[in-house]
């Protein structure tokens, strides 16, 4: 027979995980019929907060012939779930074909990838080695605007 304290603990831990899973989206977007966060104009505001020295960084893989293709695979593996398969945005993340993103410098996009936008649920991707983050930047910049 399972001890009552263990049953209580199991119930609390299990419920917490289920409730947090179920409430994750509602905490991001409010009520289910609310406008998704990425429709709000300030969603790209983080691009303007990048320090100047990071903004002006040049992509060392700018001329790598395989950069875009490798970046596309990385995008499918790590980014498409939130930003959509075509990078046009989904319920979790904004479009990366928006002019704000496409006009941003490679250094700006690299900085956003590295730091994430933690409070808005965009995780930091610093666990990807630097060259892979630059490959992702190459792919995103190759998309162009809608």
């Amino acid at each position: 027979m399972m001890p009552s304290s263990l049953r209580f603990f199991l119930a609390v831990a299990g419920l917490t995980m289920l409730v947090t899973a179920a409430s994750t989206r509602s905490s991001a977007y409010g009520a289910s019929n609310a406008v998704p966060q990425w429709f709000r104009s300030d969603v790209y505001a983080e691009l303007g907060k990048v320090p100047d020295k990071d903004r002006s960084r040049i992509n060392p893989l700018e001329n790598d012939p395989q950069g875009v293709v490798a970046g596309r695979i990385l995008f499918q593996d790590h980014c498409s779930e939130c930003h959509g398969d075509d990078a046009k945005g989904a319920r979790k993340g904004p479009s990366l074909r928006a002019s704000e993103v496409q006009k941003a410098t490679p250094g700006t996009l690299f900085w956003i990838l590295t730091n994430g936008v933690i409070r808005k649920k965009m995780p930091s991707w610093s666990k990807l080695p630097e060259p892979q983050r630059w490959q992702l930047v190459r792919y995103v910049k190759s998309l162009g605007t809608d």
């Binding site: 001890p3 603990f9 917490t16 179920a22 930091s124």
Partner: protein, 294 residues
């Protein structure tokens, strides 16, 4: 208890074959040390780990645990553990449960990134998972038969300060641990250090399983630092282990780690291995179950 465990194993198996979208897990290869990279929001990672350990003057053992790791937010990951062990020529028993939370306090990436770790453990003295080195845990603690060890039940709180850096493809991590049995026991301390690097830093232009960037290798070292009344290295165990991980693009990760005891109070040899699968969009799956829109 058996029914609960079988139920969880059944659910885990179903989740592992759930066809989620392509996903490269990109996990670190560590078994003991934590880095500052948290689970992506909304993703669930189901992990199974084993540890085979040698025992001088006693029976070797195989300890195992399951982890359910969920990214609540980009700054909060919560995790549930179920632990068990088999001691050869003795018995196989369930040894406890843990609930862990990791919080990332800073918004930006820095040279050194802190993460705060809080864990509650409900475990018996028979726990042999050795997920951390703490206090005066030594090899001879495991000589007592399971039938005796399982009678001692502990509720314990464990705090860690995780410091970690990603630099030029390398990850360097350092964990400082303080644990307190909620019964009248002193605070115990421990440490873990680790470094790892993928075999290649650039991604390949073709999807592949055996590309060098999918393999990460490194080393970790961990051990106890005594307790509040006898802080230091006396009567503590310490280990040095090679670690390796293989990330596959369908969310699976395999890990392997041979480790060696560094003093006479440590087990001579530990072999750890693990398999995990990251399921993307678990939050949406749960919402659909409760009638929400995906």
């Amino acid at each position: 208890m058996t029914r609960v465990l079988l139920g969880l194993l059944f659910v885990s198996s179903l989740l592992c074959v759930y066809p989620s979208r392509p996903l490269l897990a990109q996990e670190n290869p560590y078994f003991v040390t934590y880095d500052h990279n948290l689970e992506e929001p909304g993703n669930l990672e189901i992990e199974y780990f084993s540890t085979f350990g040698t025992q001088r003057s006693g029976n070797d053992f195989h300890a195992f645990w399951m982890e359910f790791e969920y990214g609540v937010n980009a700054w909060w990951t919560t995790e549930l553990y179920l632990d068990g062990q088999s001691t050869f020529r003795d018995s196989t028993i369930f040894t406890g449960i843990k609930w862990e939370n990791r919080f990332r306090p800073l918004k930006r990436e820095h040279l050194i990134n802190p993460v705060l770790y809080v864990e509650f453990e409900h475990k018996s003295d028979a726990d042999k998972t050795m997920k951390e080195g703490e206090g005066h845990d030594v090899e001879s603690d495991f000589l007592t038969p399971n039938s005796e060890l399982r009678k001692g039940i502990n509720n314990e709180v464990e705090l860690k300060l995780i410091l970690s850096s990603n630099f030029k493809g390398w990850n360097f991590s350092q964990n400082t641990l303080a644990a307190k049995n909620l019964a009248n026991s002193p605070w115990e301390f421990g440490y873990a250090l680790a470094a790892s690097r993928p075999l290649a830093l650039k991604a390949s232009a073709t999807r592949c399983r055996f590309c060098r960037q999918n393999f990460t290798v490194g080393a970790e070292m961990y051990g106890g630092l005594g307790d509040r009344y006898s802080f230091g290295l006396k009567n503590t165990s310490h280990y040095l282990a090679a670690v390796g991980g293989w990330n596959l693009s369908n969310g699976w990760t395999f890990r392997l780690s041979p480790g060696f005891g560094l003093n006479d109070d440590s087990h001579k040899f530990l072999l750890r291995w693990g398999i995990s699968r990251e399921i993307s969009g678990f939050d949406q799956m749960i919402r659909r179950m409760f009638g929400g829109k995906s």
